[in-house]
Subunit: 410 residues, 2 copies
């Protein structure tokens, strides 16, 4: 059960984007596993991808296609990551694009392929071909509804237990524009410049360079600020598509409402990134780690991630154990040059547990226990050595995490 | 149950070192929790300590005392780490040294204190004082026997399930010298320049600078090459004492048998470090990660540790699942600049699972399964880009690890 996360509501369609989903048999449970996101002509697109040196075949292909043409369709399969599949994997990804191009009157370079699921198995190409046929038929009816966005959110899930989708509206030059995003988690989560899979559409008319700027800024404070297990996936990707079909004027860096749009994109990304953590494999806690008064943002992030990756901190969180010694030990091994023990204070929510480098004199175990019993907890660290800060979100390490990840393939 | 590790046998006493242990009530189960290692006059001593910025009070005191005098006694308590205890912790460590100094006709600077156990609680000083009284009385009888070394190995245990001790003998200039070491693990294990607690004695006569050289070299390839959970303890320490009471000549860097001695110290350290991993919290597998043909030793270690720290690799090991995709993904996210996917090959023992960056064409799941079903497994990675290599040892991530670490304080 996800922490404070229920099925998405109030999802809004995006003019200029149509969607279709089907079950082509990659997932053994009969759930939908092939998703098509079709984009009208005239849209602009920005994307970020995994920094894992072993990026999956579809990532290689999507990057290449994106550098050549504006995309007209995104094709996503779940259940198989098409990663570690070598030359065959690249051929399969290209073949999938070819088939879809034929059915949708595009060139294959106008199609971006995405995959998520088990690493190291080749795609079942006969099933994919049949699935693409089904998707193209479904596109003939009206498929731009909110329900289709929700179906797409479900269709890209692997071990996720709850679909992840959110919509925001913002007024630009007096005209409403809409942003809708979907994402999937939920293990091998420690995105680096991108995340698992997230697809965000907007009907805003956005200049290409500003669109890229929006995406990078939003991803930096959302998908690049979460971790479940420190494992960066081979398939991470986040795509932002602006169809320009709203009545609002083009948004660029010099537009007076540009920041409103950028903030709305950030809110969508933060919502989806937090949803990924709330639905992290085996999560029973949603944990925000704030590190402030650091000498640099990198330093603040290093400390936050060291806490968030510590198996000892994570198992203490699972146990609702206010074991502040483990948090202290994690801060101490974060590799911060010249860190002065006596300057550091640590809070659970508002409760000061460590001051001057040791247990705060006013702290009682009962206070810590009260915070730890909650399902949502903030660990706040003050390094008292500068003006920089960082926030990241993480989950605990539970028996269920071990169960899920020791039984995933069986 | 530890992986391939049973109670130590054939332990040899070290002339010039006497030991005593007692239960002073820090451990609630009545087990011995206070250990005294008394060193005859004329010995030399080398030590390495944790690099965690939040080092525990006894580490601070031991470092200071070691810089002032040659130690005559090591006082170790288990069950309480005296870490995160601020000024009070330092006072308590100094007070313990004072009490022992009185009883043993030393100065307090000749005593090194060590603690291991729960972080953040102050030492029960009345119990410690009583315990020191008992230890000093026990020292009056003959206490340099192998049984006393084994009792000391048990006395420093916390969540360890098996005592860790080993002896080696080596012939120097035709004379036999003996080395005996003890160590304790078994969580918060990712030593950095030192480890948990390890105490090694030898009757060899070793020049001080060569003794330090031996210890650093041995620790580098043993305690600094293991990880359970990536959490570097606040209390790590490793001490090597040479009493000089054997008949052998003094050993220095220019002595022709010096390397024999250094190798024997390394063997003792590697044995103890591996024992820590075999008895790691919840371990069901003992895993050796070898990375070869790297551009540098640092690079080889980075890749090895990224694999060893990956919760996804560790849960796959627990499940005996030859999920090579997770190993590949870990290599890919190790941050190696310019890593060429197509050059990398990965083996489970001798079975090639990945070549040219994807599943080896000859690999079958049955071959991988056969290796993974073993309790001792080697993951061998060839980066094919240089001449450097590194080996580290680790354990899997099991339900038992989560259980132990979510119930440790309750």
């Amino acid at each position: 059960v996800a922490v404070g996360l229920s099925e998405p509501v109030n999802i809004l369609a995006i003019s200029g984007i149509t969607l279709a989903t089907t079950a082509c048999g990659i997932k053994s449970n009969g759930q939908h596993d092939l998703v098509l996101i079709k984009i009208d002509e005239g849209a602009s697109c920005a994307a970020v991808f995994t920094q894992n040196a072993f990026c999956a075949a579809p990532v290689t292909v999507a990057k290449k296609h994106l550098s050549e043409k504006q995309p007209r369709a995104l094709l996503i399969n779940s259940g198989n990551a098409n990663a570690g599949t070598g030359e065959q994997g690249v051929e399969d990804a290209l073949q999938s694009c070819d088939w879809l191009a034929e059915k949708t009157a595009c060139s294959k370079e106008e199609i971006l392929p995405f995959s998520t699921g088990v690493i190291g198995e080749t795609l079942p190409m006969a099933s994919i071909e049949q699935g693409i046929q089904t998707l193209s038929e479904k596109l003939l009816s009206d498929t731009s509804s909110p329900e289709q966005w929700q179906a797409a959110a479900r269709g890209i899930m692997t071990t996720d237990t709850v679909a992840k989708a959110v919509s925001k509206q913002v007024t630009i030059d007096g005209k409403i524009v809409t942003i809708t995003g979907i994402a999937k988690g939920s293990g091998m989560i420690c995105p680096n410049m991108a995340t698992m899979l997230a697809f965000i559409g907007t009907d805003a008319n956005v200049g290409e360079s500003y669109l890229a700027q929006c995406l990078h800024s939003a991803v930096g404070e959302s998908f690049n600020a979460i971790t479940v297990d420190g494992d960066t996936s081979t398939n991470d990707a986040c795509v932002l598509v602006a169809t320009g079909q709203s009545d609002a004027n083009e948004i660029n860096a010099d537009n007076k409402d540009a920041e409103l749009f950028l903030n709305a994109v950030s809110e969508v990304c933060v919502h989806l990134a937090q949803a990924v953590i709330r639905d992290a494999e085996g999560a029973t806690k949603f944990v925000e780690v704030n590190v402030k008064s650091a000498a640099s943002v990198d330093e603040a992030r290093d400390v936050a991630y060291t806490i968030a990756h510590s198996p000892l901190v994570k198992t203490a969180l699972f146990a609702s154990d206010p074991n502040w010694g483990r948090i202290l030990a994690a801060v101490g091994r974060a590799g911060i040059e010249g860190l002065v023990l006596e300057d550091v204070s640590i809070y659970l929510d508002e409760v000061c547990i460590v001051s001057h480098g040791s247990r705060d004199v006013s702290y009682t175990e009962a206070q810590g226990q009260k915070v730890m019993d909650q399902s949502e907890i903030a660990i706040n660290v003050n390094l008292n050595r500068g003006d920089s800060e960082a926030t990241i979100w993480t989950s605990d390490l539970s028996h269920e995490y071990v169960t899920i990840n020791s039984e995933y393939r069986t």
